[in-house]
């Protein structure tokens, strides 16, 4: 077994590989890809594509194929949540204090009017200035890109751990990767395990990135942080699907969850602020 650790997208990454070791060229290829992705899609990089519509007139604009892929999915997720999941809320996150300088001091969030966006063919329509925050979909997308790159580089059995979100193939002996799952807000406690076999895992909670009454998962309609759901774990066929699922489930009532989860084709565990937990019927792993 070989391991390659590095920092990217604001967190620590670790790739476990079986049956092949990381050459210098492999490592460089991975780091180059990460740097490119971050330059293009991080809200915290001035020149990124998600920042390109910050000071711009309403209109229809050409976008890159990758941004199109992410926004195309986001448009579906926005529909499934009646507008509550929307990556076009970058300006609201900034006003709440989650800006490139990590100001973490909320401004006048109620004053913010978020512009509307939608895709027209392969182009982007905006009705005013907009900043996209791809948190909640971008990392999953990126993990899958890394998985594709690893296969191209000749890796067959691997686990990509992007600071707690993952994609795992299977191990050389055909057994799954076994992952312990952290209790939302209690880093020393696990609530269960999950087994990954050619699947993605996404885990998110409202505890780690929290300042005052704010945290990083917002309801753009209410212009306030999400409070009913405090943690979500999801498993799906790839990391992008799993990431999308956690983002959507944060924005749903528990009544809406099973139906939407079946549309998104994944398994989930949702922790609510009233100390209750809902588990989808086919969770693969143990619960403690």
């Amino acid at each position: 077994m070989d391991t390659f650790d590095f920092s990217a997208l604001g967190t620590k990454w670790s790739i476990l590989a079986f049956g092949k070791t990381f050459s210098d060229a492999d490592k460089k290829a991975i780091l180059d890809m990460m740097e490119t992705f971050e330059n293009r899609f991080s809200r915290f990089r001035d020149t990124s594509e998600v920042n390109a519509f910050r000071n711009i007139d309403p209109g229809v604009y050409e976008i890159s194929e990758m941004l199109f892929q992410m926004l195309e999915r986001a448009e579906e997720l926005r529909k499934l949540t009646n507008g509550r999941f929307d990556p076009g809320l970058g300006l609201l996150l900034e006003e709440a204090g989650y800006d490139p300088q990590y100001r973490l001091e909320p401004g006048e969030t109620e004053r913010i009017t978020l512009s509307h966006w939608n895709l027209e063919g392969e182009k982007l329509f905006i009705d005013g200035p907009i900043v996209f925050d791809l948190g909640g979909i971008g990392k999953g997308f990126c993990i899958d890109e890394v998985a594709t790159l690893l296969r191209t580089l000749g890796f067959q059995y691997f686990l990509i751990d992007a600071g707690g979100d993952m994609y795992g193939t299977e191990k050389e002996d055909g057994s799954p990767f076994r992952i312990a799952l952290e209790w939302p807000g209690k880093p020393d406690t696990a609530f269960g395990t999950v087994e990954l076999r050619h699947q993605g895992l996404a885990v998110s909670d409202t505890f780690r990135r929290r300042w005052g009454k704010w945290h990083h998962i917002l309801n753009p309609k209410e212009k306030s942080p999400v409070e009913e759901v405090i943690g979500v774990s999801a498993v799906a066929k790839n990391a992008f699907d799993a990431d999308c699922m956690t983002s959507v489930l944060f924005q749903l009532s528990r009544k809406e969850t099973p139906q939407v989860a079946s549309i998104l084709d994944g398994h989930y565990i949702v922790f609510y602020s009233d100390s209750t937990v809902d588990v989808s019927a086919h969770w693969l792993g143990e619960l403690f």
């Binding site: 020393d188 909670d205 565990i269």
Partner: protein
């Protein structure tokens, strides 16, 4: 609010008891001969909780060893009595393929509560120290944040 919560917890326990009884029935017992015992078992479990009673209907599908079982039961609440049903299906290898709560309540409030339970399987989790979880490859959790974020946060805390 507190009473409403208590009620939800009670319904939750009831549903869990029902589901567990069915799981035990479907997985552990041959379908054909143990209906009576399950009926007793379910009733006992319900009776321990108070005034509820249970009635069990089991049916083998006839295909392989796949089984489906449904239990209809009723429970008392301050507004009267409500009916609820649980159905569990298990395939030939013992894997649960379906777990459903049937919403039978008529009263609007009870209906809403039962529907919210039907939405997902409510689980009771107590957790385990991570250090006690063995044979794991990694720990999944919300992303560790950057140093910059954490420094900003501690700066903010210092100001308060």
């Amino acid at each position: 609010m507190a009473i409403a919560k208590k009620k939800i917890v009670l319904i939750g326990l009831l549903i869990l008891a029902g589901v567990l009884a069915i799981i035990r029935f479907v997985i552990m017992k041959p379908v054909t001969e143990e209906k009576a015992e399950v009926l007793t078992g379910t009733t006992e479990m319900m009776n321990q909780k108070g005034s509820e009673s249970g009635k069990m209907m089991g049916s083998g599908s006839g295909m392989m060893n796949a089984k489906t079982a449904t239990v209809n039961t009723e429970y008392s609440n301050p507004g009267g009595k409500d009916d609820v049903s649980f159905t569990i299906a298990v395939d030939g290898s013992g894997v649960i393929t379906k777990a459903e709560t049937g919403v039978l309540a008529v009263h609007p409030i009870s209906k809403t509560r039962q529907e919210s339970f039907a939405a997902g399987l409510p689980a009771v989790l107590v957790g385990k120290k991570l250090s006690d979880v063995t044979k794991i490859d990694r720990v999944g959790g919300s992303s560790l944040t950057t140093n910059a974020f954490n420094e900003a946060l501690s700066g903010l805390k210092a100001q308060i």
